[in-house]
């Protein structure tokens, strides 16, 4: 495998790779959107935990509506061209079944990604959403390829 640097993306963070990178993360009910400019080979990823920021706490990329908008903004300011950007979306599993407040969190996270990308007119080229399992993903920002595998249990 090529010798690119690796960035581990934590929940509520965003990473846009300045040069070819492997971005990896672990998802449970969280969703990660990978955006990639196929022509300029610039990629970035977010990792959000909840669908909508409703004024609670900071307006951070912990929330999907903010995370996707900010990722897109960062990607474009790093030289990506909007018309070449495509998306791949992962996560949104219902891995936590006990807590009432987490009802449908995975589902709502997944829905939000699809909706926001549709309104932003960014085509979704690949996705693995919902289900009962967590996921590990690795995004190659040079080729745009994302490798994914299911994992048993995870809370993030």
């Amino acid at each position: 495998m090529e010798e690119y640097p690796v960035h581990f993306l934590y929940p509520a963070a965003i990473f846009v790779a300045p040069k070819p990178y492997f971005i990896k993360t672990i998802l449970g009910s969280c969703v990660a959107v990978c955006l990639w400019d196929a022509k300029n080979r610039i990629g970035g990823m977010n990792h959000y935990m909840l669908p909508l920021w409703n004024g609670q706490g900071l307006a951070s990329p912990k929330y999907g509506n903010i995370a996707i908008a900010k990722l897109l903004e960062k990607l474009i300011s790093s030289g990506a061209q909007r018309e070449h950007i495509v998306a791949k979306v992962f996560g949104g599993g219902e891995v936590i079944e006990t807590e009432q407040s987490n009802f449908f969190i995975g589902e709502r996270n997944a829905q939000l990604a699809t909706e926001v990308l549709r309104t932003e007119k960014i085509p979704i080229r690949g996705e693995s959403l919902r289900g009962k399992l967590g996921r590990k993903i690795i995004f190659n920002t040079f080729t745009g390829e994302v490798k994914m595998r299911y994992i048993k249990k995870n809370n993030t």
């Binding site: 963070a13 004024g55 706490g57 307006a59 490798k147 595998r149």
Partner: protein, 309 residues
């Protein structure tokens, strides 16, 4: 034969009943979810209304909190340069230097909160986990507020039970932890009345760092407890309020607690002071989270059964 048929019928009836029951309960869940979402929507609406007010307030607040301190720092330091070099002026100069320090300390605190909030909102904040001496970190954080307490003639009651060896090499993010502690202490000092006592306790329990601050200040009304983590939220938005700050402290502290998998508990009553208690687990992902197998040759991302997208 007939018996068999009745059995069959009752079995399918039971199945049907089960099915109906299941669907009803699903509907109930959906209904509950809908009414919960409705509540959220109402809250959101109200917050939208508030946010415009907050924005304009933030701008005028900046004047109060940043430009004014700078003006007094400039003025005071200019005065010091003009003090004639005579022994009897030493005290005056020292006093002015102290005032400059106080203003600068406040400014530094406010600005670091603003920058921390900006970084968190940009998604640029990652945990940087190292081994931390909790006692040292706690002490030095408290130390920074000593002078402010002296000014307000407050007493700090400390109970730091952090002598165990585990507390000397606790894996967490020291910079974020410090920000969290500083904000809790700063709030307690700010919202206490002069000559109050503030209790600070720190200990290690079940592998978690427990830190609590109890003040005897103005307290928080129950309806306000929900919004104290909102950014720019100041419960007394009066520009002349004696309480300084942008209303970022608790929102920054909460976001950083999230990153460290920590929890916060609050007990408070209007007029009876507040009690803030945080607990932060030891962070085991020293270098990076578990789940990615690392092999010796560094080929850590060779999945055996991955899917390609």
């Amino acid at each position: 034969m007939e018996n068999n048929e009745t059995n069959l019928q009752s079995a399918s009836l039971r199945q049907l009943l089960n099915e109906v029951n299941q669907r009803v309960s699903k509907h109930m869940v959906a209904l509950e979810e809908a009414s919960r979402l409705n509540e959220e929507l109402k809250l959101l609406n109200q917050r939208l209304e508030d946010s415009e007010k907050l924005k304009s307030h933030f701008l005028s607040n900046i004047r109060n909190q940043i430009i004014n301190p700078f003006a007094s720092i400039l003025g005071l330091s200019e005065n010091i340069t003009r003090v004639k070099e005579r022994p009897e002026n030493w005290k005056r100069a020292k006093h002015m230097a102290r005032l400059i320090f106080d203003e600068a300390f406040n400014l530094d605190f406010q600005l670091s909160n603003i920058f921390a909030a900006a970084k968190l909102e940009a998604g640029d904040t990652h945990p940087e986990i190292v081994r931390v001496n909790l006692l040292e970190l706690t002490k030095s954080t408290i130390q920074a507020f000593r002078h402010k307490c002296l000014q307000k003639e407050m007493t700090l009651e400390l109970r730091l039970d952090l002598d165990q060896p585990e507390a000397k090499a606790f894996t967490t993010d020291p910079i974020k932890l410090k920000v969290i502690l500083a904000n809790l202490i700063s709030n307690a000092v700010n919202f206490s009345n002069a000559s109050n006592t503030i209790d600070i306790e720190a200990s290690l329990r079940d592998g978690c760092f427990i830190f609590s601050v109890r003040d005897r200040g103005i307290g928080i009304a129950p309806e306000d407890l929900k919004v104290i983590f909102d950014r720019f939220k100041r419960l007394n938005p009066d520009i002349n309020s004696i309480h300084q700050g942008h209303g970022l402290g608790l929102s920054v502290a909460k976001a950083m607690l999230d990153i460290l998998d920590g929890r916060i508990e609050i007990e408070s009553r209007r007029g009876h002071g507040s009690f803030f208690c945080i607990s932060i687990p030891q962070n085991h992902r020293l270098a990076e989270p578990k789940g990615f197998e690392q092999s010796d040759d560094g080929e850590e991302f060779l999945f055996d059964d991955f899917e390609k997208f």
